[in-house]
């Protein structure tokens, strides 16, 4: 099989930068304003990017460094910026992520925050919010590293074993859609398992129409719930490509002895089974009937539709954990993943893909990490895929250029409506993805047919 040449340059990156992931994660903490320590442009660009996916306000403050600050350090701007944002937003928490610029000039943010906490309470009438900080130079990884870094920072910096009254489950669901988060909440509620889900941007980035503009949208994981995480009975963390040193669950396990269940993103039948089995163990009962039904309906659909999808070849791209879950699902339904690609570079992708595809016969998919769309397109040439599964970014050069359907999942979806409501997880998520895929293939067949069958 032809392997695209390694390029020095990146063309049409299949990733975003680290602070974007951090800002997303901070948006899932109640009352938290994401704050980028760097120059103004980065924050504005990321806001714009995120807003066009969610169609919701996404305020990201910036310390707006200028030329002088870049030379002499950003301390003054960071302190002033924090005072301003805290003063105006009255935020109970601020999530501060560095950018490439402030990492390169070497600003020592923890020390600056320490001084801020000492010097500024008077200016804030003693109301010092929780200041969470993570280091996110973009040249050190993609948006997923930033996302995990922020989740881990929230846990590590807020967890307080003294106030840990929580006895439920901690769940770190990763970079999923608001609909996914809502679904998980339902699942836990139906199991009767009290859970703290972090981050929870299901409301902050998919809010209702309200009487007034919210400077800080409602929703998010309560600060106290994060503080209480060390008291939980267990943690569940999704993602087969999270290294232990990046994981929030590991912090709680190693520091506070909270047992950790590391699972893949529950996409498709087997990965969802793994989640439900874990939940059954934790709850000490079998899953509520509705989930047995959902599982049965999924299976039924898989049988009903199997000939439409049989042997079809798919290219899957996006965040590493997402593509592992999708690969697992597509393999189960009889679609051949021919290329599994990600801009991420955890080094764990190939192994994770092998783990979810291993039990099926046939050629294993080509797995490529650290790639961009130029390379993905080059590979696609020989692979002759029938469909493409990933975010909007593969539309023009990959899907449209070959006249094949694109199933839009993940982030960003900039060319469709309702991206917040795409459900990927659980039996129900698998079922809705299944419908999307089968219908896309039917539509393609119908459109390509000279007869124009109205009944397929």
């Amino acid at each position: 099989m032809k392997i695209a040449e390694p390029f020095v340059s990146t063309t049409n990156a299949c990733k975003m930068c680290t602070p974007l992931g951090a800002a997303m994660a901070f948006k899932g903490l109640e009352g938290c304003v994401p704050f980028l320590h760097g120059s103004q442009g980065c924050a504005t660009y990321m806001r714009r990017y995120i807003i066009s996916h969610f169609r919701e306000p996404m305020d990201i403050a910036s310390s707006s460094l200028g030329e002088k600050d870049a030379v002499y350090g950003g301390k003054a701007n960071l302190m002033q910026g924090l005072l301003n944002v805290i003063g105006k937003y009255k935020a109970p928490a601020v999530g501060i992520a560095t950018t490439c610029l402030t990492e390169t000039i070497g600003d020592d943010v923890p020390t600056i925050l320490h001084e801020f906490r000492k010097e500024c309470p008077a200016d804030l009438n003693g109301e010092m919010p929780a200041l969470i900080h993570c280091s996110t130079p973009s040249y050190g990884g993609s948006h997923m590293e930033g996302f995990h870094a922020a989740v881990r920072a929230m846990v590590a910096q807020l967890a307080d074993p003294e106030t840990a009254t929580h006895r439920g489950i901690n769940i770190f669901s990763g970079f999923v859609s608001p609909e996914d988060i809502r679904h998980l909440q339902d699942v836990f509620a139906h199991f009767g398992l009290p859970a703290t889900l972090l981050p929870d941007y299901s409301e902050t980035l998919d809010g209702p129409a309200l009487e007034d503009y919210q400077n800080i949208p409602g929703g998010g994981t309560p600060l106290d719930a994060v503080r209480a995480m060390p008291g939980a009975g267990a943690s569940i963390e999704f993602g087969r490509t999270i290294k232990p040193e990046r994981s929030a669950g590991t912090v709680l396990r190693d520091k506070y002895g909270v047992p950790l269940h590391s699972l893949g993103l529950p996409i498709g039948l087997r990965e969802s089974d793994a989640l439900f089995t874990t939940l059954e163990t934790l709850a000490g009962c079998s899953a509520p009937r509705r989930y047995a039904l959902e599982r049965g309906q999924l299976l039924d659909a898989m049988v009903d539709g199997h000939k439409y999808v049989a042997g079809k070849k798919a290219i899957i791209y996006g965040e590493e954990d997402l593509v592992v879950g999708l690969t697992s699902f597509l393999s189960e339904i009889g679609i051949k993943p021919v290329l599994v690609a990600s801009g991420g570079e955890s080094g764990l992708l190939a192994e994770a893909v092998a783990a979810v595809t291993g039990e099926f016969s046939g050629d294993p998919p080509l797995v490529r990490d650290g790639v961009d769309f130029y390379q993905i397109v080059a590979e696609a040439e020989a692979l002759e895929p029938d469909l493409v599964v990933g975010n909007s970014k593969g539309y023009r050069e990959l899907a449209r250029a070959r006249n094949i359907p694109l199933i839009r999942v993940g982030f960003p979806i900039h060319d469709r409506f309702g991206s917040q409501r795409v459900l990927h997880l659980g039996y129900r998520g698998a079922l809705s993805l299944y419908d999307l895929i089968v219908n896309a293939l039917i539509e393609k067949k119908q459109e390509d047919s000279p007869i124009g069958y109205g009944y397929i």
Binding site: S9, T10, A13, S64, C100, L101, T104, Y139, G140
Partner: protein, 463 residues
Amino acid sequence: MEPVIFEERKTQIHRKGAEPFSISCNKSSLAGAVSQRACVFCGSRVVLYPIADALHLVHGPIGCAVYTWDIRGALSSGPELHRLSFSTDLREKDVIFGGEKKLHQALIELIDLHKPNAAFVYSTCIVGIIGDDLKAVCKKVQAEKGIPVIPVQSEGFKGNKREGYLAACEAMFQLVGTGDTSTISPLSVNILGDFNLAGEIWIIQDYLKRMGVEVVANITGDGRVADVRRAHGAALNLVQCSGATMDLAKMMKEKYGIPFIRVSYFGIEDMSDALYDVAKFFQDKDPEIMARTQELVREELTALYPKLQTFRKDLEGKKAAIYVGGAFKAFSLIKSFRHLGMNVVMVGSQTGTEEDYQELAEITDEGTIIVDDTNPLELSAFIKEKDVDIFVGGVKERPIAFKLGVGFCDHNHERKEALEGFLGMYNFAREVHATVTSPVWNFTPRRRKSPIAVGTAEEACLS
């Protein structure tokens, strides 16, 4: 109202009539305020990006290139190299040891692969800090590959978008004057500062063609390197938008003696004025041109007016707020709204100059809020205070309007609807009408007539 305004920003807001005109602007954004502004790099990228047969390589870590990948609607009638996003994707070791070697290799491979007619290399914040010598690398590659390889000094932190415009103009000016001008008509113009969003430049070109005027170079929408090289052969520069390409026009005037006029293609008056100004400029060379222009405008307006009147019926007396990148566009928008019987009650921009704001103060009604470099807190407060019916802005402003139950029209670089020319005025009116008159506002909580009880507890109905 007051508490949302930062003390430091009070001088950047003016209320017409309440006080004598004064406004401060062109300041760096306030730390901690969620400015709607981008950076120097953004300014350069906006201006140069639509040159479709050039390679646009962003030298820096990945984000700066990712977030600017094909986000604008700048169309090309031919090559589409500009719609790809190229980056050197700097990594830790490049930051430590310098990125010059990587930049060199990236340029060579991309030029070999895509055979562009020129390359623009944008520097970002990090490049400014690690001190890569962009000029030297560009010079070397230019010698090796035989195409212009032009550094764009656009480190994000070195100011705001305006500095980016200047950097872009300086980069482009290196191309101007290097092409053959022998076949250019005496009745010829360059179109500056139009980005061909949704194909707008084609509308303008059509008008100019009907007037008998040749367009030498589109700078920069649907732009071509070869055209920019011979742009100094045009008789006149038409500069749209106050900020973006003004510097280039000035440089061309100084070096090649080409006069320029400022134009706007938005709205009926400004579009007509632009065409008449061109006709006036050329009437010595072609006495018929004025008649042809009048005929064109008459034809277009005859078709447009009745359609506008039907929209106007529903829009009379409604209130509009405007927040756009450059202030120049705001002038045209204010006039356009008047044609629809609407009043502008708030207007602002990211990068206006003091003269821009002064002019805005002159043409707006008493009580209008004029604002420089604002943020979501202020914008939402202004919209509520003035109880507006429509907000004109870009993608970042849209959710503010919608959350407040207010209509919205995208008038920024990302719009996919042509708003220039007479056709554009029709599209604008249609969009304004569609959003302002939508039945959904009857149901949004802020606007609905009677309050709806909202349960407090999750399971209230069960108890």
